[in-house]
């Protein structure tokens, strides 16, 4: 079993060719993963909020949707003009507190804004498990393209994304 690199709140992690990336306990946060079929590299940001309100977006760009995508591109060394070859996976953005009176709908706004920003970069979303009312954990295996999503009170659901991501598995 490959080592799992978990992205904590606002963090960015990455792996090339092999390894497992994931997030634990996503509520309104969105695990935003980009995959580059050319280099077989994946990078994951644990996005907390839609847009930055202060200067800390320089030190923790993974925290905000608006700064996380440029930071992921930098990590992957893909210029925005070539970003259309990347594939995206989005997990999270749930609203766990249903009757919250002054709800800011942060989960929904995270998902909406990430979709918009990905569209602008012409990056296709190949898989998403977003919105709704439940928390989620997930693990993505960079070598095989399998993603496993867990929710409370249900068994983990595994999906094979190898074809959608352009992963060529070596013959066993």
């Amino acid at each position: 079993m490959a080592t799992v690199k978990l992205a904590g709140m606002g963090e960015i992690v990455w792996a090339r060719g092999a390894g497992v990336l994931g997030c634990i306990g996503l509520g309104s946060c969105v695990g935003t993963l980009l995959f580059d079929p050319r280099t077989q590299m994946a990078a994951l940001a644990h996005v907390m909020l839609p847009e930055a309100h202060d200067q800390d977006s320089f030190t923790t760009p993974g925290k905000y949707a608006t700064t996380a995508l440029p930071a992921l591109l930098r990590v992957m060394e893909v210029p925005p003009a070539l970003a259309s070859r990347l594939k995206a996976i989005l997990i999270g953005g749930g609203e766990l507190f249903q009757n919250r009176s002054q709800t800011l709908r942060i989960g929904e706004r995270n998902v909406e804004l990430l979709h918009q920003l990905l569209r602008e970069l012409r990056i296709g979303v190949v898989f998403e498990h977003v919105r709704g009312t439940s928390g989620r954990s997930f693990e993505f295996d960079v070598a095989t393209g399998w993603i496993k999503v867990r929710t409370v009170g249900a068994s983990a659901v595994a999906t094979d994304l190898a074809a959608a991501l352009g992963i060529q598995r070596r013959a066993a």
């Binding site: 709140m9 509520g27 907390m48 919250r100 800011l104 409370v152």
Partner: protein, 202 residues
């Protein structure tokens, strides 16, 4: 601008947590007939991205939580978190039954937890208001039952929205009579801290 927290101010916040939750836990003891004890409150600062070590429950374990908006002179969010087994203890004491799992968590069970939160937060705010002369109002709680980390991060992220950093006053309470532990968090808007310290004369 967030004021820096020196030792005196941290102590003051901790003491407010103690006094506030002392009142809240007395109310819970009256309600349930069980004696609850408090652990020493912790004051935690969350800056850019680090989630403080808060509420020692494992990240994917099932918890029941509420969060209520507090308005007035010391605005913020008040939140309660109960590990599933602890919530079952409350249900057993208060309505003499408990759900066998998440799928049985109906409105009755939710309203029990909401009512416990209401009573405890009400007493917490009353204790603070008596000490400071502040006027404080709370809104009805919102309820969630899910993975601990997902519930906690949803509470924290919303409280962090629009703020440079987040302050959390955490108090744990338990009872020797049952396998029970509950957590209370007060997440004040950091812009309003000076007002509190001014009233306390520090």
């Amino acid at each position: 601008m967030t004021p820096t927290l020196n030792d005196l101010r941290t102590d003051a916040l901790r003491e407010i947590g103690n006094i506030g939750l002392g009142g809240a836990v007395t109310a819970l003891s009256d309600l349930t007939g069980v004696l609850f004890t408090l652990e020493a409150p912790q004051v935690l600062q969350m800056d850019a991205s680090t989630l403080p070590q808060i509420c020692c429950v494992s990240p994917e374990s099932l918890v029941v939580g509420t969060v209520s908006r507090v308005n007035g002179d010391w605005p913020g969010e008040g939140a309660f978190l109960f590990p599933w087994q602890s919530a079952c203890v409350l249900w057993q004491i208060l309505v003499q039954m408990q759900p066998s799992g998440l799928e049985e968590l109906n409105e009755l069970y939710q309203s029990v937890i909401n009512e416990v939160s209401n009573i405890m937060l009400g007493n917490y705010l009353q204790a603070i208001s008596q000490m400071t002369g502040f006027t404080l109002h709370m809104e009805p709680p919102a309820f969630a039952a899910d993975m601990a980390m997902a519930v906690l991060s949803s509470i924290l992220v919303e409280a962090l929205y629009g703020q440079r950093e987040l302050l959390a006053i955490e108090t744990a309470f338990k009872t020797p009579a049952h396998e029970f532990k509950g957590y209370f968090l007060y997440l004040p808007e950091t812009g309003n801290l000076e007002k509190l310290f001014g009233v306390l004369g520090i």
